[in-house]
Amino acid sequence: MKEVFSYVKPYKWTAFIALCLMLLELFVELAQPLIMAKIIDDGVRAQNEGMILQWGAVLLALSFVAFLAGIVNSYFSSHTAQSFSYDLRNALFEKIQSFTLATYQKFSTASLITRLTNDVTQVQTVLFMSLRIMLRAPLAVVGSIVMAFVVNAKLALCLVIGAPIIFVFLIFMVAKGVSYFGLVQKRIDRLNRVLQENLQAIRLVKAYLRGAYEASRFDEVASRLKIDTVKALRTMEYIMPVLLFVMNMSLLAVLWFGTKQIAAGTTPLGDIVAIVNYAMRMTGSFSMFAFIIIFYARAKASAERMAEVLSIENEIELPSSSEKTPKGMSFGELAFDHVSFTYPGGDSPVLSDVSFQVKSGEKLAIMGATGAGKSTLLQLIPRFYDVTEGKIVVERKDAQKWDLQELREIIGYVPQQSLLFTGSIADNVRWGDAEAEMDAVLQATMQAQIHASVEDFPNGYETRVGQKGVNLSGGQKQRLSIARALLRKGHILMLDDSTSALDVKTEQALWEALSEEQATMLVVTQKIRTAKGADRILLIDAGKVVAYGTHEELLRTSALYKKIAISQQEVEE
């Protein structure tokens, strides 16, 4: 809670002004019964018409003051609340951007989405309300009690008798509320996740006619959410009736003892009227009070969830290394030195003792069976994950010592699954280099053999793609993501089986175009034909290097390689 609410700090002055304005309003409200008493005692009872009018005018003036204060408060408190949530959202998003890929595993995408929107909204609402009405209710209660004490301490005592019980009760309820509402937010995470899966897999769902099945799966998470929400809300529902009842009992006590005092002649009637009036005001504030408790509990649950994200310290990427060694030397050189790797949370190594070297401008083909660790190997180079053992040397400098940003800037990565973002084709290619001129974009797309297809689209490079975009074929997506990587003009180009959806002719043209590239290339491929064109081939199996050398060498020395070649009818058996 503290962590999250520290984001109010920059706005403490506007918050302070808002609170002052609210207090001003409150003051007016509290003064009213006092003035009323004056009207009754000094005016009506004392038969003084002038006093009645005078105090009436004061009442009127105060009302105006309160109104103005209220309206201005609206601006200040909503500015504070919105700025707070804006900063908080940004801070969360920035934190999330700095997560390592392993940290993402801790929170599902769906849960991060909930935290960034739903949870922020919960907390923001509470802040806004506390700057405006929430604090008002407790303050009104306290104020009413103070005023009641001023009027008649003995009678006022009746009003606070129940306070300790209520206090303990409320603390208990808040604790319960926080845990229940925390559960509710978790249920929203689940709901979001099933929903996201449904949207991503819509074709699969339709193809296998799993509409009803998915609906029932969703039904389950939705009804869990319902049950837990109902449980949380119903528990909180005890607060108001209990508070009201205790308060009303106090009111009756005031009447009883007040009448006793009147009978004894120690108290004027005006006092009792005033205290009864204050007591009724307190009652009125109490339903708001109950409301506050509920919101507070809910916000606290949300705040805790956000703090969970914000407090992650060790699992974020440190973008710049503390050690400022000179920039890497030897363009695009790369070496793996006895690298082993186990996924965080995994128990068996995915790569073990992998060593190889790629010279500047060389082309290395990486081959191996499905699940051998090829993609994992590539992902270690831009340090998506850090090696468990050994080291990766990029341009003669330990990858660990590289500035992360600089390291990634020299790498053009084409992932196995091409993923484009909502935006135009040009936007997507420019991911490689945001400042690239159109000429450079065109050069990249031509090299990636996608230019002609783009030109065929009615809107050309402005065609919208991504989630909200047109239907691109698998091959088109792959080539766009190759263009994106080429635009990077990195020193190392990594293609993770990124030509699988290309037809042979296009693929050939692509490789030809890529042969002019200066960059060191790492190509994961299934095709011997592609591997043949490489300077060296790294064959891995179950995370270990089983062969390393040229095509001819491997044909001679590696049985596995030969088997692969035979499977593709590249050599005679």
């Binding site: 409200e29 929903l195 529902e237 993609s375």
Partner: protein
């Protein structure tokens, strides 16, 4: 006054015209929109009529009790307290204890049930949206961001939910309390009552001024929130790419922009809706002043008793409080409407139409395209498929080849009827696809998609997706045939390993193996394989080739693959080029004719093992 126009540098969002338009629209379709939105919501709530009636009765009881309290206290002050009569007071207090206890119980019960009603409604709303999603055509999803749609199911529905929880009871009890209060006030002093009510027209005017601004702002706010949600979902799902291209800064920038838009609309919506309690408070104070001031004068001349004034000030408060609540509720209801409208907009999306004459049809496996034209968007000029004709007999294996973007996947998607043709006909056993119920059609097909998708569920459940009633043995059998069994056994918990959302534990190729196992278990009449083995190494591919061959036996199969040797068993090869079918026929014939296919084969180094 400059502050109010551009406070803290917030640019105004609504122009004077917007507000005026909101006024005009109110008379037009807008007003009916509100009404119909509320009415639709009501229809869902209404299914719990019986419980609702009980709640309403309880609200009535508690409203009466709440009014009775101060009334009795006023009376007691006048008759007992003033004269210090303890005996009479004691009786009165006992009565009040009973009343307050009853009040507490009825308050609790009405909320208890109302929460149930509200959440049940929300639940129904949510599930009906998802059920509707399942009926919507694929084209609907093509153009929408996942996160945006998700926002409607959470953030928008949330707005409806919080309103339903409280507003219903509030509105009803406010109206009741208001009526009751006015009656009692009238009985006490008609003059003071009329004086108190002078604030109503002012209130009405003020509310109109405010809601004209908040209503459009609420809507805008939900839209901004949806856009933000969309961006978050995309960025986090694509985090690997964001990192690879070190686009974090740009993403943050973009996020800040969208976040700022939400902040701006949020600021104005909140500020304006913040007016409401303040205005009401002011009117509240005014009425207090009126009653106290003028009442004082009246009491002075002996027209009313002091007790009446004391009670009256309380009733004046009782009178403005429900008005205040109503005003606030009105605002909340507006925000709920903004959310509900977006949810209902989804429900209003046209589902995949099923022709009335569509029926179940047991497929034999013959597939025929007759002059099929197709484009993904109606506005698009160029067709993605142009005049495609072919005929496939039951049990035949068809290979689709051609450059990327030639329309191969599109053909498969039309066979599965993910989209409707623009012109021409797709026929199954001579029956137009539109005459076959989608359900029946797809239940006889299995589709292995280009991008394998796995659910965050166990490996077993992921395979079982192909046929829900498949036994564990059948699943293992399918996995073995798809060559997936070995790697599955190496996973932490074997078949019970729960796969992560991004499927990190297993490689792309392994995902494809699982997808194939999923299709193997489905036992379809028609099999559609779209690059089913693209990420699988060739040795494994050879190993599962046999399984695929058996799978294809006796079924009509359509196969897209770039490694031409994977399609060497095809009976028919369809060669696509820029949306047109340029060559079709048995493989051998195409090779002999020396056309495009023959050239493709030559350019590739793959040789056919004849």
């Amino acid at each position: 006054m400059g502050f109010f126009q551009k406070p803290f540098g917030y640019e105004p969002i609504l122009t004077q015209d917007d507000v005026k338009q909101a006024v005009k629209k109110k008379k037009g379709p807008r007003a009916t929109d509100w009404k119909s939105t509320l009415l639709r919501l009501w229809k869902i709530v209404d299914e719990q009529r019986a419980l609702l009636i009980i709640v309403l009765l309880l609200v009535m009881v508690s409203s009466i009790l709440a009014l009775l309290g101060p009334y009795l206290i006023g009376k007691m002050i006048d008759t007992y307290v003033m004269h210090g009569e303890l005996a009479g007071l004691g009786k009165g207090i006992r009565l009040l204890i009973g009343i307050y206890a009853l009040l507490a119980v009825s308050l609790f019960l009405q909320n208890y049930w109302m929460i149930g009603i509200a959440q049940q409604t929300i639940y129904r709303l949510r599930t009906s949206v998802l059920a509707h999603f399942q009926r919507l055509p694929i084209a609907f999803f093509d153009r929408r961001q996942h996160g945006e749609l998700m926002s409607r199911m959470t953030n928008d529905i949330e707005a409806v939910s919080s309103t339903l929880n409280s507003s219903f009871i509030q509105v009803f009890s406010s109206v009741l309390t208001l009526t009751g209060t006015v009656i009692i006030m009238l009985s006490l002093s008609p003059l003071l009552t009329i004086l108190t009510m002078t604030i109503i027209p002012i209130m009405f005017w003020a509310m109109r001024w405010i809601t004209r601004r908040t209503a459009p702002l609420f809507k805008e706010q939900q839209v901004a929130l949806g856009a933000l949600n969309g961006m978050i979902e995309e960025t986090i799902s694509g985090q690997r790419i964001v990192k690879a291209f070190s686009q974090e800064e740009r993403m943050k920038e973009e996020f800040r922009e969208k976040s700022l838009r939400l902040k701006r609309t949020g600021f104005w919506a909140q500020t304006y809706s913040g007016y409401i309690p303040k205005v009401m408070n002011f009117l509240n104070n005014m009425s207090f002043t009126i009653v106290a001031g003028i009442g004082g004068v009246l009491a002075f001349y002996g027209h009313v008793s002091i007790g009446v004034i004391v009670i009256f000030t309380e009733y004046a408060r009782q009178f403005t409080r429900p008005l205040n609540d109503l005003a606030n509720q009105f605002n909340t209801v507006l925000s709920a409407i903004a959310g509900a409208e977006r949810v209902f907009a989804l429900l209003d999306e046209q589902p995949e139409e099923e022709a009335a004459f569509a029926q179940k049809h047991k497929l034999l496996g013959q597939v025929c395209f007759q002059h099929v034209y197709f484009k993904y968007e109606q506005e698009a000029e160029a067709y993605t498929l142009k005049d495609v004709n072919f005929n496939v007999e039951p049990g035949q294996t068809v290979a689709l080849v051609g450059a990327t973007g030639a329309g191969k996947t599109t053909i498969l998607q039309l066979i599965a009827r993910f989209y409707e043709v623009a012109k021409g006909e797709v026929l199954f056993d001579g029956v137009n696809v539109q005459q076959i119920a989608r359900q029946a059609l797809r239940s006889q097909m299995a589709f292995v998609l280009q991008d394998p998708f796995l659910f965050e569920a166990s490996v077993r459940e992921n395979i079982r997706y192909g046929r829900l009633d498949a036994s564990d043995e059948e699943i293992e059998e399918a996995a073995k045939r798809a060559n997936a069994h070995d790697f599955i056994m190496k996973l932490k918990n074997g078949y019970d390993t729960v796969l992560a959302a991004d499927g990190r534990e297993i490689s792309q190729g392994q995902k494809q193996l699982l997808s194939i196992a999923r299709a193997l278990i489905a036992d379809p009449k028609i099999l559609l394989l779209d690059e089913a083995t693209s990420s699988i190494d060739t040795v494994t591919e050879l190993a599962i080739q046999e399984a695929l061959d058996t799978l294809m036996q006796g079924r009509t199969s359509f196969v897209i693959a770039h490694r031409l040797n994977t399609v060497h068993n095809a009976d028919i090869v369809l060669v696509m080029h820029k949306g047109e079918l340029v060559e079709a026929g048995p493989q051998q014939k195409l090779i002999e004719s020396g056309g495009i296919y023959a050239q493709m084969l030559q350019s590739s180094s793959y040789h056919l093992d004849e």
